[in-house]
């Protein structure tokens, strides 16, 4: 574990201008077990170090000792607020290396569910981020909308959070009766609810004071730090894997990539709010197309034991947090040789130091929220 550089003796404590503050791992707003060691001058952050790994489970090691089918549930537990996106990434990677075809209908259903998961994840982000800044009520409003999505998930997958969503080669289940109506009903209420959140927050002078100009990350810095996802887009880089390397059916739907200008906390907030609206558009388009495909297979031809050919593949998707990539090395057996997960949260978290230095303690909390990390994914 990290040892603070200042040995705390009484004399030094009295002489020192700085104070070392241990934020976390048990802290209300570090989103899990993140430990941030802050060096403070008054309340101004002059140095910062993240200590992570409290939730390390060795998923990569576990994956090397499980068959390809067995690995899937473990992916739910990486980014547990966006389990469906993780599953999609894993399943696609295996399909890519093993050359398994997925039926068209399954692809549309996958996109609908993944985009619902993106909305759910962003809603959770909105709630916790607003709560970090002090607007507690938004948290419960956002959770109420998220609950609607989780109900759809429960009906479809049979689980609300760790869904074990997809199967290699397609889907486990076809859509249930009333799926379309339920999703459409959610899509109907979402815009007005988002409008309400924006009424409370967008123009609120306190919210503006707390977010505008906080933790500015320029486009160059963001690229250099490997930041992806909404954080990168808020810095003004128009890049989304759904457009850059379209997977599933993202090349057949229309949507815009919201891009910020200043790269501060407020822009990240705006980008994510707009992304939810765009996800909703994607869902509605997919539902229209799904109607034409409806009676149809959802699972392609999959061998009993999946033994992908020897080789390696890197595949990534745009998860709600950023670029979630999997680098998979196969040795021809039913077990992967090496499975590396590129966790967006971990690499985005690197940027925290760059953002936070010079700001106050309260801003560090806002910044951790605005990066949108999930410790299950950071620590794996």
């Amino acid at each position: 574990m990290h040892k603070p550089e200042i040995a705390i003796t009484r004399e030094r404590l009295l002489a020192a201008r700085e104070m070392v503050l241990n934020m976390g791992p048990q802290h209300p707003s570090t989103h899990g077990v993140l430990r941030v060691i802050l060096k403070l001058d008054g309340e101004t952050v002059i140095d910062l170090d993240c200590d992570i790994g409290y939730l390390h489970r060795g998923v990569e090691k576990i994956c090397e000792n499980r068959t390809y089918v067995h690995i899937e549930p473990y992916f739910d537990r990486l980014d547990y607020v966006a389990a469906v996106s993780n599953d999609l990434c894993y399943v696609e990677t295996v399909e890519k290396i093993a050359g398994i075809e997925v039926p068209e209908k399954a692809k549309y259903i996958r996109v609908i569910l993944t985009e619902l998961q993106r909305i759910a994840s962003h809603l959770l982000w909105l709630g916790t981020h607003a709560m970090d800044i002090g607007a507690v009520t938004i948290f419960l409003y956002a959770f109420r909308e998220r609950e609607e999505i989780l109900k759809i998930f429960e009906n479809y997958f049979g689980a609300r959070l760790t869904a074990n969503a997809f199967r290699i080669g397609g889907l486990q289940y076809d859509i249930y009766d009333g799926f379309e109506e339920q999703v459409r009903a959610f899509c109907r209420i979402l815009p007005e609810r988002l409008k309400e959140y924006e009424t409370i927050l967008n123009e609120n002078r306190i919210w503006l004071q707390r977010t505008v100009g906080i933790g500015i990350l320029t486009a160059e810095e963001a690229k250099d730090l490997g930041v992806t996802g909404p954080v990168l887009r808020a810095s003004g880089v128009k890049w989304d894997i759904r457009k850059a390397f379209p997977y599933e059916v993202y090349d057949q739907v229309e949507f815009e990539i919201p891009v910020g200008e200043n790269g501060d906390t407020y822009d990240r907030y705006l980008v994510r709010m707009e992304e939810m609206r765009q996800s909703r558009l994607i869902i509605l388009q997919c539902l229209d197309k799904l109607k034409k495909l409806h009676p149809g297979p959802v699972l392609g031809k999959v061998p009993k034991v999946i033994r992908p050919p020897v080789g390696e593949v890197y595949h990534s998707i745009e998860s709600p947090k950023g670029e979630l990539g999997i680098y998979l090395v196969s040795n021809g057996t039913a077990f992967p040789e090496r499975l590396r997960i590129r966790p967006p949260s971990l690499i985005n978290l690197q940027a925290l130091k760059k953002m936070a230095i010079g700001h106050l303690v309260a801003d560090v909390v806002a910044l951790i929220g605005s990066i949108d990390i999930v410790l299950g994914e950071v620590d794996r």
Binding site: S29, I133, G134, Y141, Q285
Partner: protein
Amino acid sequence: MELFWTIWNHPIVSEYVVRRLPTIVIVLFVILTVAAYLVYAERKVSAFIQARLGPMRVGPYGLLQPLADALKLLSKEDIIPARAERSIFVIAPMISVVASLVVLAVIPFGPGRATITDVNIGVLFILAVSSVGVLGIILGGWASNSKYPLLGALRSSAQMVSYEVAIALALVGPLMFAKTLSMVGLIEAQMTDGVWYVLYQPVAFLIFLVGGLAETNRAPFDLPEAESEIVAGYHTEYSGFRWALYFVAEYTNIVISAAIAATVFLGGWHFPGLTRLAEPGTGLYALLAVLIFAVKVFAIVYCFIWFRWTFPRYRYDQLMSLGWKWLIPAALANILVTGAVLVLAQHLGLVETVRTEAGERLVSLWPWGKLFLIAASLLIGVPIVWILLAVINRRSADFNLRVQRQIRLPERGEEEIFAEV
């Protein structure tokens, strides 16, 4: 025994102890119950705001929840951190709670016996005693020997000191109308004049409300105990009944804050037409007066709760700049404008001074005097204060947050996209 009765019957003792004792006991009991039920109210109101139900399990609609909470807190283990400064750690919450309870002595809950005592420097007394409460918070934060409480204590000391100035200055305006420092006198002045001072002093009322929120550590100014930043602030290391003492102090302070606002700006127990319903001096009158006062207090307390569950939290430096750059200049400007308006009104003969047995009272003449004062406060006072603040803060960062930025997307409606599909 005889000595006891001698003391008991001594005029000073009988005046200041015996006669007041029942009121003191009733007020303490009521206020502590109210503080406990304020927690319940807070939980319920916040729950309704957040589309929840709130406490429902203990008693019908969770009405016994405060009792259960109190029992739980009483029976909890009493923990004092190993490296804490034991004696101060123990004393600190007591200072807080005593300071807030002592203020109750001069709060005019109702006419006659319903008020514990009417001190002729009531407002000063309140300002003086309530600042002692900060001491409890600072000492508690320091004695915990922990970093988060220390940060919370520092924040609260800075916050309370700066907002107390704003509050005191905001109270000067109404005092200029009332010409008295006594709390009962303030109510009587508003009764004689017939107009609540909130109409004459809207700026001061706003400043007092904001300052009161900050003074009682309520969101959006709850920095000393900002849970997402510094865990629980000054009472991080407290638990059990010591923590409950802080809690009682906090909620009592809310009641007191609201009571002062109701007294000074909303006419206390005065309500137009009250004297027609009941003869002054009767029991019914006193009861109605207390009820009216309670309604006013709870309206303000409700606003406090409502604000808390709507707004995000200020940052430390923004809080300071709000206090020093906005509220204090505004309060000072308000005093000047009020003074000028009053002098002008006297010159125009719109107000006259009435001598009553309690002292001099300023009465504005109906209708032009009242209309002039109200219009002057709104049309002269508010713009002058606003222009002054705009000039002072024209370079500050938060004033220049003029934008509501938008994500720029190509102008395409939903209909267009679906037309293509």
